[in-house]
């Protein structure tokens, strides 16, 4: 395993953890979504690291050359996963816009307070 791979292995764990922390600790829904995105980016880096090969070049076949190249399959998988992550982000942002329209805030704790107050009102009515 090359130095590159070791460094990447540490880096992706760090990125994932920063993302997960943001996801859990922040009340702002947009920041939560960004945390989710960061978390998924960490996973992409993990996949890319899996495909690395010492001294490997980009996996493009050219005539006359017989170079070692890195494994293209993880790249393809991650292309798909990036699209999925992008769609998740889009759906999340669309939902957040809706939340902002209905509640007037995008702070999770304030939304919870509003919901609780309404449930109480509902109960008394």
């Amino acid at each position: 395993m090359s130095l590159f791979a070791t460094f990447n292995s540490i880096a992706f764990v760090v990125i994932m953890m920063i993302g997960l922390y943001t996801l859990i600790a922040r009340q702002n829904l947009v920041k939560k979504t960004l945390g989710l995105g960061l978390f998924q980016t960490g996973i992409f880096l993990m996949y890319i690291t899996l495909g690395v090969r010492d001294g490997g070049s980009a996996p493009i076949l050219q005539e006359g050359t017989d170079l070692a190249y890195s494994n293209p399959l993880p790249h393809v998988l991650i292309l798909t996963a990036i699209v999925v992550s992008l769609s998740t982000m889009a759906v999340a942002l669309a939902l957040i816009i809706g939340v902002r329209e209905e509640y007037g805030t995008i702070e999770a704790d304030e939304i919870a307070t509003i919901d609780r107050a309404e449930a109480k009102e509902d109960h008394e009515a």
Partner: protein
């Protein structure tokens, strides 16, 4: 919408080139780096730039919403259509060789180009729709 003359002039000049570059990446995708995903994003970026510079209304006139909606479905249908062609000819789903039974390499190239075209169409329209939705057009 930008008021800067410099931005509007340069952006207006760039717009067709970005589109052409998008098409280049699209066409190139079957034999080299590129393909529908990247090309779709590039084409969408051109229209997003257009909207930023000249305003949403003008972009909507250039590229009506119904057309984007239609392109979204048509892209996927094109992809599935290539697959179904294989089924109809009694082969497996997405078997490219039915496109040109005499020359498998050509058939593969043709199949991939068609599939990538579908992907590009869908990606471009989906990204445009996403930006449009997030960009203030409420519910």
């Amino acid at each position: 919408m930008s008021d800067s003359v410099v931005l509007r002039t340069i952006g207006g000049m760039l717009f067709p080139y970005i589109l052409v570059y998008g098409l280049y990446v699209q066409m190139h995708g079957e034999i080299g780096p590129g393909g529908g995903f990247q090309a779709g994003v590039l084409v969408a970026a051109a229209f997003i730039l257009h909207a930023l510079l000249f305003g949403k209304e003008l972009t909507d006139r250039l590229l009506p919403t119904w057309l984007v909606d239609l392109a979204m479905s048509l892209g996927v249908l094109l992809y599935i259509g290539v697959g179904i062609l294989g089924l109809v000819k009694g082969r497996y789903f997405l078997d490219y060789s039915v496109l040109d039974p005499t020359h498998p390499a050509h058939a593969e190239a043709l199949g991939m180009t068609l599939v990538e075209a579908g992907v590009g169409l869908t990606v471009a329209s989906v990204i445009l729709t996403m930006v449009r939705k997030v960009n203030g057009e409420s519910s």
